[in-house]
Amino acid sequence: MPSKATIDRVQAGKDQLQFITCGSVDDGKSTLIGRLLHDSKVIYEDQLAALARDSAKHGTTGNDVDFALLVDGLEAEREQGITIDVAYRFFTTLRRSFMVADTPGHEQYTRNMATGASNAQLAIILIDARKGVLVQTKRHSFICSLLGIRHVVLAVNKIDLVKYNKERFDRIVGDYMAFAAGLGFTSVVPIPISARYGDNVINQSDKTKWYQGPCLLDYLESIDIQSDVARQVFRFPVQWVNRPNLDFRGYAGSVASGSISAGDEIVVAASGRTTRVKRIVTQDGNLPRADAGDAVTITLEDEIDIGRGDLLARPNERPEVTDQFAAHLIWMDNDPLVAGRNYILRIGTRTGVAGSITAIKHRIDVNTREHLAARKLSLNEIGFCNVATALPVAFDPYEVNRKTGSFIVIDRFTNRTVGAGMIAFPLRRATNIARQPLSVGKSERAALKNQKPCIIWFTGLSGAGKSTIANIVDQKLFAMSCHTILLDGDNMRHGLNRDLGFSEADRVENIRRVGEVAKLMADGGLIVICSFISPYRAERDMVRNLVAREEFIEIFVDTPLEECVQRDPKGLYSKAKSGKIKNFTGIDAPYEIPMRPEFHLRTMDQTPEQLAEAVIDVLKARAIVHGH
């Protein structure tokens, strides 16, 4: 055996593709993996012999070898014929080496699927050709999308059982494409296969002559995953300070994304201190450049204070640094998430961060993607939450960077990993980070208008009189030459929020958008009058947190439910009572009364005119406007 040839062959190298397989046992997921392993010749003879023995004992395929048993490793799984945990399999071809995360498909194992998806670049979503797109197909696709997978293979399996029927295949593909349109996948490649008989798995099947695309393995070998991380901006989470003696101080870590060269300028995200990279040290010699994925030790030109958990970046490409952010959260523990309770967070290499989930904005039904109001998250549930940390942390949105946008939640008492999060956006920027300074500030704009900008937030039941009072307040302020804008629920829905329905989840998003718009308008120096039911404290507080403390004035329009029902100006209560509207506040959805509103308007004894005058008095007292 010429040894040179062996070395050359190894060195020619190949890259690695990590993928996840989604589907339930019935879809033939384990069978497919077993087939891939077997046909790519990584199953050895002794393992095949053991497989034949096991097939006789536990198998579900009659006299044939049951490939599923190759991958279901735990005794309980083999006995029950289900997959409990994430299993990792490896196989290699001349072009690529593959790592497969085999995960269970049932809803109660959402956390396992999320685990398998977290590091995967591609997902194979299996569909039983006889059954088509099912609820679970949608669940799996959603979780893959949420975890940042951008490439999907739609493996329409058991094509043999529908007699290799093209129309059947086309219909399933059509159904799936329609559903997956909103999931942000870069590529979706449908392939008709039979995992059991091997059609279109390793070789092109002659039974599906109508199918012109690649077979599964060919596609997995050739798909371009030229990792997106290389094109991203430079991020280096400091993992460990290497200080063997007084002469050497290096920062060990793995390049999360982008690349860095000796001599490049860097900034420590949290402190804002800048310096230059002196050397990129490895035992194999100094490197001129380190790329995404490289584990290196960086030395710097200046001695600045850096420790484990710091995130290094280029000064012109800084990450977000804040102590409040919004994130998707997958709950993984039997004890439900309790908003407001303290947990330990780990973000990048920043460990032991005290933090809490301040609000659950909505829960997402993993089967329908519908947003639902929620007070807690139970095992395997996914929510969109506000998170607050004791210290500012550096991160990127997960959509932009999976490595620097993810975090885990650890229980303070049991130390269990109870949640996994994907950061969506910062809620407040840390004060020591300079934002783009605006030449004309909020106060200048407001001074010109002779008023203080603020958000006046009317909350209360439907029919309580919010809009009526808000309208009169607006007229009165206008008469006083104040610059105002009135944002009303119904009006917002005609434009900005016309894509939102009336589900509780959409209401949460409704308020979020309104809050952001109100904030921008307040930045412009306006007095922003908002009239929204906004039944949850969490959302009202979210808007409150967007602006300075004195700029948010919550006005509770307090009208008893019986009175609202009796007034019923839009006929909504009668519809709700007859069941024609679901989740109607006050009827079958809660209204959380404000605990400490800036002003409490009891409407029963006064006219709208009097109530509006009382509001104006409050604004005068707070020097928002000046009385005449």
């Binding site: 040894s3 735990l74 945990d85 460990w240 035992q283």
Partner: protein, 341 residues
């Protein structure tokens, strides 16, 4: 340190700046010019660079996250790679944890020689632990069977050593491709007090965000080489020129056939049966353990390159040569519950 049941070898710390490979080229670069730039690492193919980097990241994570880590050193090829990568991970600092070898006293003689030479060559701290009680009771693989021998001399001995030195994290060289229940193993494998492994009570591992928090008495086994395959290991050994025990290379050695396996006659304790006559055969080992439990394979592979070439055409798994895995159904899973690596 001289408590019951352990013998401690502490080799001196030879190199203040850590281990440098014997390859002259690299060593010279280091010594001559601090700012020189290496081209060497770029000779590693992408998938091996990636595996190496991943293992380095895990090792640094453990050193940063635990109080008192240790690296299990089994002398085999996986341990050789693990140690090689570990030295890279902390360069230029020396290895920030000791090595621990759990000696069943039934290892091949060449393994023990290699172990002591390696510790000396690299200047790393090595702890050797033997279950003295098991030894006194005469536990051995030939009379007691592989199951009892493994439990007492490997699993119990390991637990003793971890307790004795209060290690809270122990690196092991196990890989996910080795065996079915290993395929489900975490990289950080949680063990509750008493070293119990419960597959249903493992922490989810997402991204590279490991949870290193422990309560009193809890420990972690860390499989930093989880995602390497046997082929990766050999390709890496070849390209990085890592020394391994000579038993991996084919050579004429005295063997007998026993229980369907080819067993090397390493010393007199094997006690030949009347129908057993040692014959010289060209054999090598794909995995190494206690010699009466390690099956040899016929092979002509005398160099690493030969082994890699042989791997490309192998038709049986490396574990086939291991007698301890076939003791009973779900054998590995059961051993892991008891605290085996």
């Amino acid at each position: 340190m001289q408590q019951s049941g352990c013998r401690v070898v502490r080799s001196c710390l030879l190199l203040r700046q850590g281990y440098r490979p014997k390859r002259k080229r690299c060593a010279k670069w280091h010594l001559t010019n601090n700012n020189s730039v290496s081209k060497k690492n770029h000779m590693l193919p992408k998938h091996l660079r990636r595996l190496e980097a991943e293992s380095i990241e895990i090792m640094r994570e453990v050193v940063a996250g635990f109080k008192n880590p240790v690296m299990l050193y089994s002398i085999g090829k996986d341990s050789s790679v693990m140690l090689h990568v570990a030295i890279k991970a902390f360069y230029p600092a020396k290895l920030p944890f000791p090595l621990l070898h759990v000696d069943t006293t039934w290892k091949f003689r060449e393994m023990i020689t290699f172990r002591d030479e390696t510790a000396k060559r690299l200047g790393v701290e090595l702890i050797v632990h033997v279950n003295k009680e098991g030894l006194e009771r005469g536990i051995n693989p030939i009379d007691c069977g592989s199951a009892l021998h493994t439990r007492v001399m490997k699993t119990d001995a390991l637990k003793q050593a971890l307790d004795l030195y209060q290690f809270d994290a122990a690196f092991g060289g196990a890989r996910r491709d080795e065996e079915k229940s290993r395929a489900k193993e975490r990289i950080l494998s949680f063990r509750s007090a008493g070293h119990v492994w419960d597959p249903r009570n493992q922490r989810p591992e997402l991204w590279n965000l490991f949870n290193t928090q422990l309560l009193q008495g809890e420990t972690m086994r860390v499989f930093a080489m989880s995602n390497w395959t046997e082929l990766d290991i050999w390709e890496y050994i070849m390209l990085e020129k890592i020394p391994v025990v000579p038993l991996y290379f084919a050579k004429q050695r005295p063997v007998v056939r026993r229980s369907g396996a080819t067993i090397m006659v390493d010393d007199k304790r094997l006690r030949l049966q009347s129908n057993e006559t040692p014959e010289m055969r060209m054999i090598r080992f794909r995995t190494l353990g206690c010699y009466p439990l390690s099956g040899a394979i016929d092979s002509d592979a005398t160099t690493i390159e030969d082994i890699v070439a042989e791997m490309h055409t192998a038709t049986v798994s490396e574990r086939q040569g291991r007698l301890i895995d076939t003791d009973e159904a779900a054998s590995m899973e059961k051993k892991k519950w008891e605290g085996y690596f």
